[in-house]
Structures are given as C-alpha cells and as structure tokens.
C-alpha cells in the first residue's frame, strides 16, 4: 500500500514540478509532495530528517555558490569578462561566438553552470544586442556550454557534488574518468555552433572593448580584491577536491569571504543578494530529498536502477546504463530529481558493488549533458512548443530544441565512450 501511495505521490509531484500549473513556483509542489509523503507514512520524520541532514554539504555548496555569484555580479566581474571576450573577437562575429563559448566554459568550470545560466547569459545577451548582432546564436552558445562544460570539475555543477559524495573519488580519479569526456563535450558543442551559425555569425562589429573593460573594473578597490578572491576560491576548490574536503564548506567560506570584501568596501547590495540567494531553492532540494527517501524506502529506486543496469556485465555497460538512464530521465523530469533517483537506487543495491563507480560516473555525465536535449525544460515543455509553433507563434525555445537534438546525442555518445575507455 505504501509502495503504491509513494509511487503515485512521487509521480504527481514531479509532474507538477515540471508542468508548473498556473506558473506557480515548483518549490510549492515539491514541498507539498514531501509533506504528503510524511502524512501518509511513506517516510518517517526521522528518515526524512536524516535524508535532508545528511546532505548538508550540498546545501552549503549551493549557499556558497549563490553568495559568490552575488558578489561577483556586484563587482561587475561578468561584464568585465564579457568585454574581454568581445575584445578578443577583434570585431568579428564568428570569433565572438568562439570567445563567448570559451568564457561560458571558464565560468561554468570555476563558478558552476548556474552562474553561467543566471548571470553570464543575460550579460552576453545584452552585449550582443548592443553590438547589433543576432542575439540567438550567442544566447544559445552560452546556454549549451553551461551544460557541456559542467562535468569538468567537481564544483562545475552541484550535481557533481551530490554524486561525488557517493563516489569518494579524489580529483585525480575524477579527472581521469571525466576530463577527456568534458573536453570532448565542449569541443563538440563549439564545433556544432560554428557549423550551424557559420553564416549567421559572419558579421563585423565595432566595439571599444578597452573602455568597456575599464568601465567594468572602474571601482578597482572593490573589483581587484573580488577578482583575487575568485582566483583564490578556484584554487581552494581544486585543492579541496584533491584532498576530498567537503566542497560545501569551501564554497560557503569563499562566499562569506567575498561578502566580507563587499562589506569592507561598502559595496554589499541587498538587491543583488535578494536576486541571487534563493531560500526557496533550499526548500525545493530538501523536499526532493524527502520524496526520494520515500520512494527509496518503498524499494522503487532500487528496482528502477536494477532494471536500467539489468544487462550491465562490465564497466562499459554500467557506464552506458547510468549515462542513458539519467540523460533520458533528466529530460522527462529534471536532472536533479533524475540523478537523485539513480544515486539512491545504486546505493541501495541496484548496482553490483564492482560496477558502482562506472555506473555513477556515467550517471553524472548523463545528468550534466542530458539537459542539453531540452535545455529550457522537460519534454512536456517541448510538446507545448510544438503546438504553439503550429499556430504560427514565434517561440525561440524551438531554436534550443533544434540544436539540442544535435548537441546532446553527440556529446553523450562521446562522453560515454571516453568514460568507458577510462575504466579499461
């Protein structure tokens, strides 16, 4: 009875989270689903508290990332790096596409894919608009590279932190399995964009990039310490990943340190903090952990993962099972709940211990790269887009999907092969 109830509540909640009826924030649906699981007894209060409390590192990591992004945004770091990209492009639209992909990858690798999506994307949009270039190629490029580059380091995507907790893999091992795949994914994304937008991006522009760089870094007494702080934080992330220190603690210490710089320079902006630090996100994630714990206790995640890797006999097939499982599920629901389901299933006996690591590395790559198929949401969003497109309404999200069907399979295949090879 509990199993069926848990399954129904889980399915209805995730559907509501994806569809967001009446455009209501998904946090409400996730929270209601989590509470309902407690009310029907699908999960005990103790187990729910344990599910949430044991993930303190991920919560701290999100908190640190938000603070870091807020202060970096206050210091105009993103405007500065975008101006440098425009300068390096030397007035050529095609070259700008390359430099935009490069800064997108760089910001993703060291500040996470969320920072790229939330802050760098509008900065690049604004820059392309000011330069009177076609906006969409640049907007799409940043959006796609935010996913493609997000498995490079353990801090490039919060999902990596979540899976990394289970892998206990030091940085060297992490890079051995994922760095070649990550480089391939970035290169494929850049190649696809250059091929698709070769003609469209072939425009000249005039831009006084030196003035833009100077304007972005005009408040040197604030900008320089923040830049130094970001560089130090990046270094601390690398050291912490190598020594298996909790990344959440490093992220929060870094974020608080950067806030300290902002306070000392009297530049702390409440508006920026409010825009970047979202308490609702913590509720959303906590609710997801409760929901996953309920279906895990009902034995559903183990069965699902056991089904996904039923034919896995060696590392290569385990990589493929994890990769395809999370890639497909990420597009049906969302990548965070998708990876939670697969990680939970693997932990509770869905995968043979010998195949644990290849399965989890594959699952991580699938959850990071899979969202490129429908980067604006899940499949239901895309179905909606098909309908409105037929009615002649101009919807740019359709452009995302057209590129996603090329980029996502190519990057997933390349990543799957390279990760499988890394286990030989």
């Amino acid at each position: 009875m509990h199993t069926a109830l848990a399954a129904v509540i889980f399915a209805v909640t995730l559907t509501a989270v994806v569809v967001r009826p009446l455009r209501i924030n998904e946090t409400w649906f996730a929270a209601c689903g989590g509470v309902l699981m407690l009310v029907v007894g699908a999960v005990t209060p103790g187990a729910a508290a344990d599910a949430v409390g044991s993930e303190w590192n991920l919560f701290l990591f999100f908190f640190g990332l938000m603070l870091t992004a807020a202060v970096a945004d206050m210091s105009r770091f993103f405007d500065w790096i975008a101006a440098l990209a425009a300068g390096a492009a030397a007035g050529r639209g095609r070259r700008l596409l390359v430099t935009v992909i490069l800064i997108g990858a760089l910001v993703t690798i060291f500040l996470s894919n969320d920072a790229t999506a939330i802050i760098l994307t509008p900065v690049v949009y604004t820059m392309a608009t000011r330069l009177r270039l076609r906006v969409m190629p640049y907007l799409l490029a940043v959006s796609f590279v935010a996913n493609s580059a997000s498995m490079t380091l353990p801090i490039s995507n919060p999902i990596n932190v979540l899976v990394g907790e289970r892998l206990h893999a030091p940085l060297g091992e992490y890079l051995l399995h994922l760095l070649p795949a990550s480089i391939a994914a970035i290169a494929i994304t850049a190649g696809v964009f250059m091929a698709l937008f070769w003609r469209t991006a072939d425009r000249r522009f005039e831009f006084d990039w030196r003035s833009a760089v100077s304007a972005a870094s005009a408040e040197r007494s604030f900008f320089v310490p923040v830049l130094a702080g970001l560089a130090l934080l990046a270094l601390a992330y690398v050291i912490a990943s190598a020594l298996l220190w909790p990344l959440g603690v490093v992220a929060t210490a870094g974020g608080v340190g950067l806030c300290g710089i902002a306070i000392a320079r009297r530049r702390l902006s409440r508006q920026h903090l409010q825009a970047h630090v979202s308490p609702a996100l913590f509720v959303y994630i906590a609710a997801l952990f409760v929901l996953i714990r309920a279906v895990q206790d009902a034995g559903l995640t183990t069965a699902l993962v056991a089904g996904a890797v039923a034919r896995a006999t060696d590392a290569s097939t385990a990589v493929a099972g994890g990769l395809l499982g999370t890639a497909v599920t990420s597009n049906v629901v969302n990548n965070l709940p998708a990876v939670l389901v697969f990680v939970s299933g693997a932990q509770t006996g869905g995968v043979a211990p010998a195949l644990h690591a290849p399965f989890l590395f594959g699952a991580l790559a699938g959850a990071d790269l899979g969202p490129n198929l429908t980067p604006v949401g899940a499949l239901s969003t895309m179905l909606w887009l098909v309908i409105v497109r037929r009615r002649g309404v101009e919807v740019s999200a359709w452009d995302f999907f057209k590129i996603g069907v090329v980029v996502a399979p190519l990057t997933l295949i390349a990543a799957g092969l390279l990760i499988a090879v890394s286990f030989r």
Binding site: N25, E26, T27, D73, D114, A117, I118, I119, T121, P122, V123, Y125, T126, M127, T129, R130, R132, R134, V135, M136, L139, L140, V142, S143, R199, T200, R203, Q271, H272, A275, H276, S278, A280, L281, F282, V283, Y284, N334, L336, P375, V376, G377, G392, V393, E394, V395, S396, A397, D399, F400
Partner: protein, 156 residues
C-alpha cells in the same frame, strides 16, 4: 511610383537595412511617398533568455540585469531606426520612425491599419538568405502575408 502607393510601412530588423532600401527603391520607387519605419523588439529572444536563465527555486534574471538589457534593446532599436531613416530620407517625401515591443507580425498589421498604409515592405525571413520551400517565410512575414490590410512586398 503609382499614385496608389503613397504610404509605405517598412519593417526594419537592424541587420538588412541596405538590402531593404535597395529592393524597395528598385521595385516600387519612393518618389513622393511617406515612409514609416517600424522596428519591433520581438518577444522571441527575450523569452528564450528567460527560459534559459531560469533555475528551480525562482532564481532567474536579476532585476538590474533586466534593466541593462532593456536599455541595450532600446538603444540598438533607436540606432537601427536612425540608420534606416538616414538611408530612406533621400528617397522619400517624408520618413517617420516607430519602435514597438511585441509580436512583429501582429504589430505590423495593426500599425499599417491605423496609419492607413498602402504597402507593407517586409523581409521574407530574418536570415540573410531566407530558405526556399515551405519554410521560406519567417513567422512575422507569414502573419503579415495572411493578415495585412493592404498590399505586401516580400523581399527575399
């Protein structure tokens, strides 16, 4: 220039102004005509940005970024219109400019009806070379072709 075509509405996209001026001058002629240059900030790219930058928990476009973006859009629209007005001024009797935000096709038709245009001149699609075949018309050109209250000149 026929006497019927005295009020021409031209949709400016900021990327193909020269091609529009050349084609309209060559095909219709603008001697004695009144030209309304319309630039529309479409909703498509902006909706794409909002979709791409949205994250769970309500995190999305920070307010100050939204303001920067709006300012950039207004400035680039004004520049595109000023550039087009300079190009059309030598060809026509008078040139007006207008900046709007929304769905381009619908706004072109509504404006043409209100302004009592004799002719709407519009590019077939946003690309440099609109494709041949069933997808040759972009969404704005498609809507204008279907709903225009006057003659339409489609420029490929």
């Amino acid at each position: 220039m026929t006497s019927a075509v005295r009020r021409v509405l031209v949709l400016i996209d900021g990327l193909h102004t020269r091609a529009l001026v050349d084609a309209i001058t060559r095909l219709v002629g603008l001697d004695g005509a009144h030209v309304l240059l319309l630039h529309v900030q479409g909703t498509s790219a902006r909706s794409g940005l909002e979709l791409a930058s949205r994250r769970p928990g309500g995190r999305g476009l920070p307010p100050q970024r939204a303001r920067d973006l709006e300012e950039a859009e207004l400035r680039s629209g004004a520049e595109a219109l000023a550039e087009a007005a300079a190009a059309f001024r030598d060809q026509a009797e008078s040139v007006e400019t207008m900046e709007l935000r929304g769905e381009a096709g619908r706004l072109v038709c509504d404006t043409a009806a209100r302004w009592r245009a004799d002719l709407i001149a519009i590019r077939a699609g946003g690309r440099d070379r609109p494709p041949v075949g069933p997808a040759s018309l972009g969404p704005a050109a498609r809507f204008v072709t279907d709903h225009a209250p006057c003659a339409v000149l489609l420029i490929r």
